[in-house]
């Protein structure tokens, strides 16, 4: 199967989601030494989106893939310190007292998820341009 055949066979949301998730977990690790590593979530989403034929599914896979990857980090970090209490402190800083969960959702979905989702859309369209010439979804 050449690349074009592979691309045209892409259908699986799950594959794109898992690819985004794994890439996001690995790439985000660079955050240990580079504060802009979160931008690489575009690349993680791109990878997942590249593997999905429908734009909507691609976006969703990118969004969920990065969100879940970040959620995994949050869960790990919660064993290292009081991250849920900290979310409430941040909420207070942002003028949302008692709404720490909102700050966490903003982090996961609006920052991570949208970055991954936009990356996935890019992946999807680039894939379509390269391998689906003449065919519109």
């Amino acid at each position: 199967m050449n690349l074009k055949e592979f691309f045209e066979s892409r259908q699986s949301f799950l594959v794109g989601f898992i690819a985004t998730l794994v890439a996001a977990i690995l790439l985000q690790l660079l955050g240990l030494v580079w504060e802009y590593a979160w931008i690489l979530m575009v690349a993680a989403g791109f990878l997942g989106g590249f593997l999905i034929k429908k734009a909507g599914k691609a976006f969703l896979a990118g969004l969920l893939g990065v969100s879940v990857a970040w959620l995994i980090y949050f869960i790990i970090f919660s064993f290292l310190g009081p991250i849920w209490e900290f979310s409430n402190l941040l909420a207070e800083l942002f003028g949302l007292p008692g709404m720490g969960i909102v700050v966490i959702l903003i982090s996961l979905v609006l920052i991570g998820g949208l970055t991954g989702g936009l990356g996935a859309l890019n992946g999807h369209f680039i894939g379509s341009i390269l391998f689906e010439s003449g065919k519109e979804e």
């Binding site: 985000q28 955050g31 980090y73 970090f77 310190g81 900290f86 689906e132």
Partner: protein, 832 residues
């Protein structure tokens, strides 16, 4: 195909735009992508606990062991002092790096670089004072002449930088993530420049300015009576007050205009240590073995400063094989213990009062402002151009002009030119070239280092002589000695303590700068500074009251802020028994007895009784209820009581009504006579004309004004607090420890608190006893506390733990030997 390309271009543009927005800070909002990703701010809780670790650095001479106890207080054991300072530098940075950064930037006038245009006036203020210029000279001096101590500062800086260099996005302190900043490396210069900031906070007294205004407006005799040179302390000596004159509007002089403008600038500029409060002060005292249960000297100290979070203080035990074994509080930014004890000596500090170290001179300039006239000739002003970089805006600059006395402080206010204003220079001991104590610079560090290692009074004084801040220093040692000494280089003013032949003090008003004013004639020799050793009464104390009596030959300042009620209360307590324990001393530090109320209220009650029983006057029921509450009050300022609220407001009204003449000539902002002056008037001259209120046709006596003030008090409380049940002291008197960024989420909750102004427990909400320490010198047993916590990480268990002990009058034990495993939180090993 074309459609897909267009879509991709659109999505790509959207993605780029989204990333750019998330990477950009908007005002105080940090770049949200950097901030809210998992390795952004969310790593902060993971760094909240101390964990065992090893830090390798080849510059160390040997291993350094650091044990954190259950309050996060480090106990550092090193082979050499240099290694000790290296470890302390690392600890300061690990726990308080942002605070240190703010301190050094404030001192060198560089806050605007990171905090924006709001701080330009603070930066201009310190650039004109010139701490940055003086610190550069100070560093050069230390390098050339104090190599041993300079190397210790280098070692401390190496420790700070060891942490800074190790910072990753994972370990970046919270404040830097929040403000999207990067810390820069630390140098000995930063510690030296911080010294000036702290010294200025303690001694940068501007009272000469309003004293000058008072002397301009008030007839000489009236001024002398209302503002005596000496504050009344112990013994309480009431002055005679008989001068009274209705004050009239006076034409504002150029000098007055300049003073007003400077005072307005000072009031409105950003204050790093918080705006000073008139009731601020400090306490310290000691008893010898004959007055303690253990037979050992006991010592207590509680400096009163503005609260901040992270605290001004970082507590530590420093031990080295080179004779260091000291416990106490350090400033993050400086590697020595300011107040503390070792196995032999203990000490604590209180500020000596106002006006000892700062003088102002009215300078005569040529028309183009390039020269000044001094001693018969025109001299060229030194000038420095200071550029202030501003975050998010254009840079600003200020030209500093300097005479032989010091910088022209009036240049702070840009429009002070022309005939309507005077040019004032500021002379301060710490930056004056007159100061030759050890060569001008950085002597506090050397002094405290020697004090930290002192073993007796002689070696303690070898350190104290280098200490540049004017302080009352209480001392006790394991050989049974107690003492109260005064530190600091005090300029000699020719008039002495009692003024010139005409009774005038010149050190406390703006001087003529042309050479005919009061120029400094050297400094009081160290061995002639006020000192009391092992007095026969077996105790010593200071609470910012006068440190000297009338026989002392030198002028060492005019106390302008302390009413001596704390001193009188401390004396009453210290003379009440002869078997004091540390627990007694702790109770004393939390003493809420209002001594001023015990002096005023019996007179108010007497006036009330006379009014009701003899004059048959009638009062509203609420006024009667308020009086009943005062009648039954035990003078304890308890947060659950209503009486303190009534009394404090009444005293404020009584002062305002008595001194109402001051408001009739536009001098409402002038410093009013101290409460002790009013006490004296109230006790001894009930028909003084000062009691008569100018805005009423009747002629009021003391009793009339006291009761009128009571009516006004009740009306005010009803209007502002509602029903009497809401007048409870704790409803309106709350402790609030503000974070250094001003962010409320990082600050303490507002918590009702006992205590109040002029009490030993001198709480004024945003400040008060910032550190409490009690020490038994026989066994080196001590307890300490401060309203904060060791770790600046807001998620640390040590961010507020000491604060919550503090507000409940609790202390923590100080561990001087091995830390038991039950309280050992973590161990760090620094290894070469």
């Amino acid at each position: 195909m074309k459609g897909k390309i267009i879509k991709e271009i659109g999505v790509c543009a959207l993605t780029v735009g989204f990333i750019v927005i998330l990477s950009t800070s908007f005002g105080i909002i940090p770049p949200l992508g950097n901030f809210l990703n998992p390795f952004g701010v969310w790593t902060v809780p993971g760094n909240a606990k101390y964990r065992d670790m090893t830090i390798i650095d080849s510059r160390l001479n040997g291993p350094v062991n650091v044990q954190f106890d259950n309050y996060g207080i480090p106990h550092i054991h090193a082979k050499t002092d240099r290694d000790l300072f290296f470890a302390l530098g690392y600890l300061h940075a690990y726990n308080r790096l942002f605070e240190m950064d703010i301190f050094r930037r404030a001192a060198s006038g560089r806050l605007s670089e990171i905090l924006g245009a709001d701080y330009i006036n603070a930066d201009k203020y310190f650039r004109i004072l010139g701490f940055n210029r003086h610190a550069q000279k100070g560093e050069a001096y230390m390098q050339a002449n104090e190599k041993y101590f300079y190397d210790l500062l280098v070692s401390y800086s190496d420790g700070v930088n060891k942490f800074i260099d190790s910072i990753t996005p994972w370990t970046m302190p919270f404040e830097y993530k929040l403000l999207s900043l990067k810390p820069t490396r630390w140098t000995p210069f930063d510690t030296i420049v911080f010294k000036y900031l702290q010294a200025w906070d303690l001694s940068g007294d501007l009272s000469d300015l309003d004293t000058t205004l008072l002397q301009q407006y008030l007839p000489a005799k009236m001024y002398a009576e209302l503002y005596p040179n000496a504050t009344m302390g112990e013994p309480f000596v009431p002055p005679i007050i008989h001068e009274f004159r209705i004050l009239e509007n006076a034409a504002p002089s150029p000098l007055a205009n300049s003073i007003r403008a400077l005072e307005a600038f000072e009031e409105n500029r950003p204050h790093i240590f918080g705006t000073p409060y008139e009731g601020a002060g400090s306490n310290n005292w000691a008893v010898n073995g004959s007055k303690s249960k253990t037979g050992n000297p006991l010592l207590a100290g509680d400096p009163h400063l503005g609260y901040q979070q992270p605290s001004l203080w970082y507590e530590v035990q420093m031990v080295s094989d080179e004779g260091y074994n000291c416990t106490g509080c350090t400033f993050p930014a400086a590697p020595v213990i300011l107040i503390g004890h070792n196995d032999h000596v203990a000490w604590s500090l209180t500020n000596i009062g106002g006006d000892a170290h700062v003088d102002f001179y009215e300078e005569k300039l040529n028309k183009i402002g390039t020269q000044y006239y001094f001693n018969g000739s025109w001299r060229t002003l030194n000038t420095y151009t200071e550029t202030i970089n501003v975050k998010g805006g254009p840079s600003d600059s200020i030209i500093v002009r300097e005479t032989i006395h010091g910088p022209l402080i009036t240049d702070l206010v840009a429009n002070l030119t022309g005939r309507g204003f005077a040019n004032l220079s500021l002379k301060w001991t710490s930056t004056s070239p007159d100061l030759k104590v050890g060569g001008n610079y950085s002597n506090e560090f050397k002094g405290l280092y020697l004090m930290n290692k002192a073993t007796d009074f002689t070696s303690f004084n070898e350190g104290l002589r280098w200490f540049g801040a004017m302080q009352n220093v209480v001392y006790a040692d394991d050989k049974g000695n107690i003492a109260m000494t005064v530190s600091g280089p005090f300029p000699i003013r020719k008039q002495g303590v009692n003024g010139t032949a005409d009774g005038k003090l010149k050190g406390n008003i703006v001087q003529n700068g042309t050479g005919i004013g009061e120029e400094w004639a050297g400094f009081i020799p160290f061995n002639q500074l006020p000192r009391e050793i092992n007095p026969s009464r077996c105790w010593v104390s200071s609470s910012n009251q006068l440190s000297i009596n009338g026989s002392y030959p030198y002028y060492i300042g005019q106390n302008t802020f302390d009413d001596a009620y704390r001193a009188r209360r401390i004396k009453a307590l210290l003379t009440s028994k002869n078997d004091f324990t540390l627990t007694d001393f702790e109770a004393m530090q939390g003493d809420n007895y209002d001594y001023s109320a015990s002096q005023f209220l019996p007179i108010l009650i007497s006036a009330w009784n006379y009014s009701i029983n003899k004059e048959h006057k009638t009062y509203d029921q609420t006024v009667k209820d308020a009086m009943n509450i005062l009648y039954g009050w035990n003078y304890i300022v308890d947060k659950n009581y209503i009486a303190p609220t009534i009394y404090e407001k009444w005293l404020e009204k009584f002062q305002a009504n008595t001194w109402d003449e001051f408001t009739f000539f536009g001098a409402g902002s002038l410093r009013k006579p101290m409460i002790t002056i009013l006490e004296n008037l109230t006790k001894f001259d009930q028909y003084s004309k000062w009691f008569d209120m100018n805005n009423t046709p009747a002629i009021e006596s003391r009793n009339d004004t006291m009761l009128l003030s009571l009516n006004q008090t009740v009306a005010w409380l009803q209007a502002n607090y509602g029903a009497m049940a809401n007048w409870v002291w704790g409803n309106h008197h709350k402790i609030y420890v503000k974070h250094i960024t001003g962010l409320r989420a990082l600050s303490s909750p507002e918590i009702p608190l006992d205590g109040g102004p002029n009490l030993i427990n001198n709480q004024w909400g945003t400040g008060g006893p910032s550190w409490r320490m009690v020490v038994d010198l026989g066994n080196s047993n001590s307890e300490e506390i401060y309203p904060g916590g060791q770790n600046g990480n807001p998620m640390s268990p040590h961010y507020w733990d000491l604060f919550y002990l503090y507000i409940n009058y609790q202390y923590h034990a100080v561990y001087r030997t091995t830390i038991s495993t039950t309280i050992l939180e973590a161990t760090w090993v620094f290894s070469p």
